[in-house]
């Protein structure tokens, strides 16, 4: 890709950000949507988070991990433990990241 093509690609990507995040905000009138779908979409954000997180924890290069010597598992366990103990997101992040970095640098997992 020439530099100008790359710039065009990037500007297009910015419009995709705007177009997807603003999709249902753009029309002046509300698009008709069945009630059951509206109700069901309550679960969408939770589902999106779970769908992004789960593969990042248990998969490598598109395959399920086959070893328990993976720092991500213990970082996730520690973060989960912290969350249900204290319910704070900052502490959850810090706890999990410390376990992650300790296992990576200490044991090479």
């Amino acid at each position: 890709m020439s530099p100008w093509e790359a710039v065009l690609a990037i500007v297009g990507l910015a419009f995709i950000t705007l177009g997807t995040r603003g999709f249902f905000l753009f029309p002046e009138r509300e698009l008709p949507m069945p009630g059951w779908l509206k109700q069901g979409l309550r679960y969408a954000p939770l589902a999106a988070l779970a769908a992004v997180v789960a593969p990042e924890v248990v998969m490598t290069q598109g395959h399920l991990i086959t070893t328990l010597k993976d720092a991500r598992l213990y970082a996730t366990l520690a973060a989960t433990g912290y969350f249900f103990w204290r319910r704070g997101i900052l502490g959850t992040i810090v706890t999990g990241t410390l376990v992650m970095v300790a296992l990576r640098t200490g044991l090479g997992w």
């Binding site: 990037i10 999106a48 992040i93």
Partner: protein, 245 residues
């Protein structure tokens, strides 16, 4: 107009509250932004283009998905197609945003939309669960956006500039995933939401072989179906009728 409404939006107390509610997760966003910056720098994309991409596109996973295609000289429509698929979840989110912003003029609605990243969505919906507009929402929203935007963009730029000095092999980029994990846990309220989350996670792993990150869309569809099913089999407790007079 009363005194509160005349003040600039960033002086409104809800602006500070929106910012504060975002600070907890911003550490995760920052670590993730840093790693994204390093990845963009190491990919070989020229610095000026990388900065332009970060500032304009403002969507980490779409950027990382589109990068290798741009660098390999793939056709431009393919670059856009993958970003579209990776961003499909935002289309679903935008339907949820509509009742809060529908009263605004179109350009303002779109300006709100552009800045609504995943974390803004989750934090805002937790603060305003009732889909009705109210005057505190705009300052709260922009307070959260200010923190989210800064804690994403600044570390991305640092990552771009200092790519060789940052030991990403330590794995601290995982903080971004942990931020999403914590947010996910905070959304688990009843059995239906637990079931939806488990179904979504399992479906995303099972469908991971799908191209263009479409597994996320499959997982959302499966989880919505599961949630609806649970709503149907669980008796709904009648809510008291509201008096709007």
């Amino acid at each position: 107009m009363n005194e509160l409404q005349r003040r600039p939006i960033w002086r409104h107390p809800e602006f500070a509250r929106g910012a504060r509610d975002m600070v907890g997760v911003s550490l995760g966003i920052a670590a993730w932004g840093l790693v994204t910056g390093v990845a963009m720098a190491k990919s070989g994309l020229p610095m000026s283009l990388a900065v332009l991409m970060s500032l304009l596109v403002f969507a980490g996973s779409a950027q990382l998905a589109a990068l290798p295609l741009i660098l390999s000289g793939a056709p431009i429509w393919m670059v856009w197609a993958i970003a579209l698929c990776v961003n499909l979840r935002f289309v679903i989110f935008s339907a949820q945003w509509r009742p809060y912003f529908a009263h605004l003029p179109r350009w303002k609605r779109m300006a709100h939309g552009y800045f609504t990243a995943d974390l803004n969505y989750v934090v805002f919906m937790a603060r305003f669960p009732e889909p009705r507009p109210s005057p505190e929402q705009a300052p709260y929203f922009w307070g959260g956006v200010a923190v989210n935007w800064t804690s994403w963009q600044l570390p991305t730029l640092v990552g771009l500039l200092l790519a060789d000095a940052i030991p990403t092999e330590w794995g601290f980029g995982f903080a971004g995933i942990l931020a999403l994990l914590g947010l996910m846990y905070s959304l688990l309220s009843d059995r239906a939401s637990w079931a939806a989350a488990v179904v979504a996670g399992a479906a995303a792993v099972a469908a991971a072989a799908l191209p263009l990150k479409l597994n996320v869309v499959v997982a959302i569809a499966a989880a919505v179906a599961m949630g609806l099913l649970m709503d149907h089999v669980t008796p709904v407790v009648a809510k008291p009728v509201e008096d709007n007079t």
